[in-house]
Each structure stands twice: as C-alpha cells, then as structure tokens.
C-alpha cells in the first residue's frame, strides 16, 4: 500500500517533468506563434474599442468579452450549448423526480428543517450582497473582467448555500423548484438565441444585408444594436448576451444542485416505477 502511493507520486512527478521538458524542447510546436497569428492579436486589441473604425469595432473596452461574444460569438454559442447539453442530460436522467413534491402540501416552518439559526441568519445577510455582486459582474461584463458566466456562477454559489442551509424541502416551498429554475434557464437560453439573430431580424425588416452574431454596423450590413444607451456604453449585443447568460447559468447550475440534493429513496422509487406523476 505504501509502495503503491510512492509509485503513484513518482509517476506523476516523472510525467510532469517529461511533459515540461518536451514542451521546452518544442515537442508541442514552436513556443512562439507564427507572425500572422501575432498580427491577429494586434488586430483584436486595435478593434475592441475604436470609434474611428466603426465598421469593424465592437465598442467594448474589454478585449476578452469582445472576442468571446463578438469576434468568435458562434464558437461561444456552441460552448454554451455543451454546458447546457450536460444540464439537459442531468434533467433527463432525473426525469419524473420532482424533488420531494409530497412535502409541498405539508406546511413546514423554517425552524424545523435545515441548519442552525446562526447559519440561517448569516445566509440571509449574505444572500442580497452576493446577488448584488453577481448582477454587477454580469452587467459590467463589457467593461471589466467577468461577464455573464462568472456572474451566474457567483449567484449559483449563494443559491447552493441557500439549498443546503435552509434544506431542500424549505427551498422548494419558497419557490426554488425544478420547474421554476428550468423555466428561468430556458428563458435565458431563449434570450441568447434571440440576441444572436437580433441584427439578422433587424436587417430582414429594414431590407439590407446582415449576419448572425452581428453587433455593430458593418461595411455592407449597415444595421446594428446601439453601442450607447442614454450616454452609457452598453456595447450593443454584449450586455444582452451577458444578462441572459447570467440568468441561464445561475438557474441551470441551481437546477443541477436541486437534482443532486434530492433524496436517493425518492429517485429509486421513481426509477422502480412506484410513483407516477
């Protein structure tokens, strides 16, 4: 047993050493990217916010967000789709499980379930603070590091804490159910999908050329989402993407937590076919 552990440790160390040595020698390709790729990086920085080339800019000072949701928006869309396919898979596995639905009729008071009053009070205090931080991260996604995914994850953390501290039964009675989170997540995903073809619809209505994932007006597609709203920089579609992504991520992760926290007996009874709903 002891030798096994030592062997595993030695194997990990040797693996990392060999890998880093190989990378240093250039086994994974040259350490410097080719010159044309370096030019691409320069263009990204040059065009992220550039009011003098309105045909090419994103109008967002955050280069990462402008790359993620504009320059390679379609790529991000499919990355988001992968995450939501995982969540859809979880929902499909747990189909028919409605997380202690019978406890919904029996009224339970806050004191009977969950952790101690100290933990509950602290969670109540921190809930609005963390939600405010999450919303700020999402709404500032086009200005500062962060964005919809980060904001949604932050909100999901405090919602997980609520689920654990106040117990799943009480949270379900308060409205954090599988159905409500599923509906919120679907609303977020629908928002992302509509935002991605928003300018295309606008172009079709006006009658000019336009693209999917278009943000600002381009040379041959002179329609776009306004970059300024009442003097505030909103970077067109970026703020919409961030809001909807925040909603979808927070609701989606909370949905997974609800399903994972469900009692095993209940899942087994559903899988055996004892209970139908």
């Amino acid at each position: 047993m002891k030798y096994e552990r030592a062997l595993i440790a030695v194997a990990i160390v040797v693996f990392i050493l060999v890998l880093s040595y190989a990378v240093t020698l250039g086994a994974m390709g040259s350490t410097l990217p080719p010159r044309d790729l370096r030019l691409l990086a320069k263009l990204y920085l040059w065009l992220a916010i550039n009011p003098w080339t309105r045909n090419l800019t994103v109008m967002s000072p955050e280069a990462v967000t402008s790359i993620v949701w504009d320059f390679r928006g379609l790529d991000t869309f499919f990355e988001t789709a992968v995450l939501y396919l995982a969540i859809i898979g979880t929902v499909a596995i747990y189909r028919g499980v409605y997380a202690s639905s019978k406890s919904r009729e029996v009224p339970i008071s806050e004191d009977e379930v969950g952790m101690s009053p100290i933990a509950k009070s602290v969670t109540k205090i921190t809930l609005p603070i963390v939600i405010a931080v999450a919303v700020a991260i999402a709404l500032h996604g086009h200005l500062t590091p962060g964005g919809g995914f980060q904001g949604g994850s932050t909100a999901a953390v405090i919602l997980l804490l609520v689920l654990v501290v106040f117990s799943l039964q009480y949270s379900i009675r308060m409205g954090i159910t599988k159905g409500s989170t599923l509906a919120l997540r679907s609303a977020g995903l629908l928002g992302i999908a509509v935002t991605s073809i928003l300018v295309l619809i606008l172009g079709l209505l006006v009658g000019c050329q336009s693209f999917i994932f278009q943000n600002q007006p381009k040379a041959y597609a002179p329609v776009g989402v306004p970059a300024f709203l009442d003097g505030m920089l909103v970077s067109g579609t970026l703020i919409l993407f961030n809001i909807f992504e925040c909603l979808a991520v927070a609701a989606g992760l909370t949905l997974t937590f609800i399903l994972v926290l469900t009692h095993e007996e209940e899942i087994r009874s559903v899988m055996k076919g004892d209970r139908h709903e």
Partner: protein, 131 residues
C-alpha cells in the same frame, strides 16, 4: 523634514495604527499556522483556524483600509481602496464564524471526533438529557 500640519498628523496616525493592525495580523496568522500543525484534534485545530481568519484576516484588512486612507499620494482612489477593504473585512467577520460554527456543530452532532480536552460539554449533556 516633514511639516506636521493638521491633516498630515491625521494621515500619519492612520498609517501607524494600520501598520500596528497588520503586525497583529501577522502574529495571529503565525499562531494560527502553528496551532493547525501542532494541535492534537479537530476542535482545537478549528480554534487555531479561527484565530487565523479573524485575527489574521479581518484585523490586517482593516489595517490596510486605514493605511490606504492615510496615504495622501494615492489621491481620490484611496477612498475606493479603503471602502472595499472595510466591506471585505466586515463580510469575513460575518461569514467566517458562521462557517466554523457549522463545521463544529456538524462534527459534534455526528460524534465523529471525541471532544478531547474537555472541562464541560453542555451541548452533549443537553442532548443526552433530552433523549
């Protein structure tokens, strides 16, 4: 030579108090780390960890807030740094004790760890009397 005019004295006092708080924080962190390594079981190690979070995090962050407030050369932005530090300190002050409380309570209730250096355990007596 430092001209000691009104607000400069206040700045100096703020910076010195802040540095004293940071020094207290360093001491508490050191003691907490020693306790985490040397203490025999979970409950006393948890005590050492809370020394590290309150004495070693909240106090020096408050000290950093005072230092930032006293640094005139930072200009207008020092109030942002100072305010953010105070908010962080207050948040840790609220959240960290709740976390250690939950850990200790769960451990005591599950009877995973014997309460070893014990003078009196009212919680255990209460739960035994209640049964």
């Amino acid at each position: 030579m430092i001209r000691l005019v009104g607000y400069e004295v206040v700045d100096w006092v703020l910076v010195i108090i802040g540095e004293v708080l940071v020094a207290i924080g360093v001491f508490c962190d050191l003691m907490g780390a020693l306790g985490m390594l040397r203490f025999p079981n979970f409950f006393v190690r948890l005590h050492a960890a809370t020394v590290g979070t309150i004495g070693g995090a909240v106090v020096p962050i408050l000290g950093a807030a005072l230092i930032a407030a006293g640094c005139d050369f930072l200009g207008y932005y020092r109030w942002f740094m100072s305010g953010a530090a105070v908010v962080t300190a207050v948040l840790i002050l609220i959240i960290a004790p709740a976390g250690s409380h939950v850990l200790a309570r769960a451990t005591h209730r599950s009877k995973t760890v014997p309460v070893e250096p014990k003078v009196v355990d009212m919680l255990e007596e209460e739960s035994r009397g209640g049964e």
